[in-house]
Symmetry: C2
Subunit: 242 residues, 2 copies
């Protein structure tokens, strides 16, 4: 299936490590701004909220960029991580779906700050098309394919309603996009070479609720029954043949 094992060159960076590199990068940028020149794994770990052994192992996957007895050169490490993440080039990003969330994303400074440039906004609603947001004119989603090709867009953010997401997804993939950030609450079906990351607000809340509930009722086992009026019995209800 999805195996990312090419006979390991230096380039076999574990997913878990990749997910933490942006965190280190942010911490390093903060340190750099304060004029810090070098940082130990211990300090970087504290700033990123992880364990120091993890920092050292993560960074060792990029190469030996530290100095024993001293630590890591902040600027050098920023450069190496940026390069590894591909942030030394800039990426043209399109946002599809300019509702509340799409607008928030378009106006979100954090995107632009590193390597990412929002190059197009799309919506299907004629009332929204033509509107100017964050310096861009919203285009009709009909133009998706041509704009993606013309502007070299390589990452697409889907911020449409759930019902439109799969269709948009299919179209951008057909247009050659292989990296998608999906905010719609659906599981997108994509071919294996396409990379999808998902951000789902309500799932995050549900996970919090789980832990909150567990904290609340110290552990007693709750009644394992339906509310009475439902009157459900396990063995039934599937009797009907097709």
């Amino acid at each position: 299936m999805i195996r990312r094992t090419h006979h390991a060159r230096d380039r076999g960076i574990p997913d878990a490590t990749v997910a933490r590199l942006p965190l280190y990068l942010r911490a390093l940028n903060a340190l750099a701004e304060r004029g810090t020149l070098t940082v130990s794994s211990e300090e970087l770990a504290a700033a990123a909220g992880v364990n120091s052994a993890k920092v050292r192992k993560d960074l060792s996957h990029l190469g030996s960029y530290g100095t024993r007895g001293v630590g890591y050169d902040v600027q050098y490490l920023i450069y190496q991580i940026s390069r590894e993440l591909g942030l030394t080039q800039d990426w043209a990003v399109a946002i599809v779906g300019v509702g509340n969330l799409g607008r928030a994303l378009a106006n979100y400074g954090g995107f632009v700050s590193r390597g990412f440039r929002i190059a197009a906004l799309f919506d299907a609603d004629p009332a929204v098309v033509g509107e100017r947001i964050a310096g861009l004119v919203v285009e009709h989603v009909d133009a998706l394919e041509s704009v993606i090709k013309d502007r070299g867009i390589s990452i697409v953010v889907i911020a449409t309603p759930a019902s439109a997401a799969q269709d948009v997804c299919d179209r951008v993939i057909a247009a050659g996009v292989t990296s998608i950030l999906n905010f719609a609450p659906v599981v997108l079906a994509v071919p294996p070479e396409v990379n999808v990351r998902k951000v789902d607000l309500s799932i995050e809340l549900q996970i919090l609720a789980f832990h909150e509930q567990r904290k609340a009722n110290g552990g007693p086992i709750m009644a394992d029954q339906w509310p009475d009026e439902v009157g459900h019995v396990r063995e039934r209800s599937m009797g009907a043949g097709s």
Copy 2:
């Protein structure tokens, strides 16, 4: 012994499983709406985008709710997962920071749909305080503590600028909140009994960029040097030896 599974009884559901339950729940709701009565692990797996063995193992952590040879009763499973996640009660949620993102969250229907009720909006900007959004009047952040207590708010969403996030975090924790969903791009420092989940838009993009870059340059090793000359000559290999 920093063991997450402290004195838990048989209800020790793995984190990875908890994170997938909302996914199953959504898939099951979709099935229920189409009138489906039972579902096999294979079908549910397809709908949730995971492997079927994973579905069975995940569900087995909740109890034996399937029927061999048949599958799972959709309604019954919806109820059990909802109960496990704590969605049979409803949770009062506050959003702090009513910028673009905060507004989008306040208006996002997905929250309200299951168990979550947005009970307060806060901002520090006097120009925003008093504004009516999604049926709620934005309150000044000064009222944070009292409103949290009065309305029984148990989950707080932080959608402030990075600079304000830690302060807001400290205050809501002091007011008794132990579940936080953080959208600000900072690592929040919290005591161990507090649960923080983080959603970071720019980190997701950076992870995508990493994979996109790797796809682009099939595998050749790139120049491993500073643009200028920093003179770090790479000298690797000879790793093990002990």
